[in-house]
């Protein structure tokens, strides 16, 4: 079992790689394994996504998709939640282990700090990829940074 510290470094590294890639591709995604020991149904990964005007325009909304890369297990589903200023939404990858991610979820909260979390419905390690974009009202990608707060 990875220590929480090691796991956080790995996730941060994944995010940095994704962010580095995103510099050219205008995309942000991060991958990690939640509940690597497989015994924590309440395991939740949590991050702040900071949306700002990087010159492409002010943020209108943050949108998120999640992809469960692990094989399907009955009753074990992976979801992403987004919260900002009294509003919250969520989305679930209902078919695990295939090449498709969930539908998108979006919160319209303007520039500022959004909270992005990943959780699941039962015990079991799940490898996932979460994709997040701060976008303008015209769906143009704008400034997007992330700070990992909790890795479980």
């Amino acid at each position: 079992m990875k220590s929480a510290f090691l796991k956080k470094i790995i996730m941060a590294a994944s995010i940095m790689v994704a962010a580095g890639y995103a510099g050219g591709a205008l995309a942000h995604s991060a991958g990690a394994t939640i509940d690597s020991a497989g015994n924590n149904a309440s395991a939740t990964d949590l991050a702040q996504v900071i949306c700002y005007d990087d010159g492409d325009g002010p943020t209108d909304h943050l949108y998120v998709t999640i992809q469960d890369n692990s094989p399907p297990v009955s009753g074990l589903l992976l979801s992403a939640q987004v919260y900002k200023d009294g509003h919250m939404t969520n989305v679930t990858d209902t078919v695990s282990g295939d090449a498709n991610s969930s539908p998108l979820a979006r919160i319209g909260g303007g520039d500022g700090v959004y909270y992005l979390s990943v959780s699941k419905t039962a015990n079991g390690a799940r490898n996932f990829t979460v994709t997040y974009h701060c976008q303008t009202a015209a769906d143009v990608h704008t400034g997007t940074d992330i700070t990992v707060l909790q890795v479980q």
């Binding site: 149904a41 939640q81 979390s117 959780s119 699941k120």
Partner: protein, 146 residues
Amino acid sequence: MKTPFIKKAFIGASILAASLYTSTTMAYGIGSAVLDSAGNNASATDLASVNCPTGTDHFSAAVLDTSPQVAGLLVSVHIYKDTQMTTATSTNGNWSDIVSVYGGAGTYYLSIRKTNVGARNFTVGWDCRDSNNVSTGTDLKVLQIQ
């Protein structure tokens, strides 16, 4: 189909009733509502803030999905405060585990969500507690009903 207004009033009444009850007995809260009453919003999320008073060590919650079971359609509760978040899911018609965030006094966020389209009746219980698991009182405000 209930309108959001009626639905909000319903959950507000449930919460109020629970609060009135708890004011003379225990300090926990309990409320019931329907999530995604139209059955067409997989992302439907109900959200409330709960202010926990001085002396609070942690905030706990659990959820019960009271609708007939549907494969792949599960109801979960989430607690969020500052840099911490946790969750629990009701399965097989049973209450979820009780989960807690240890964030002291202040504002916690309590949400209910599900994993797919489909209306779900649920009951949620919540409680601000001190380090001895004694209720410290709750003050809940509904922020979003879907």
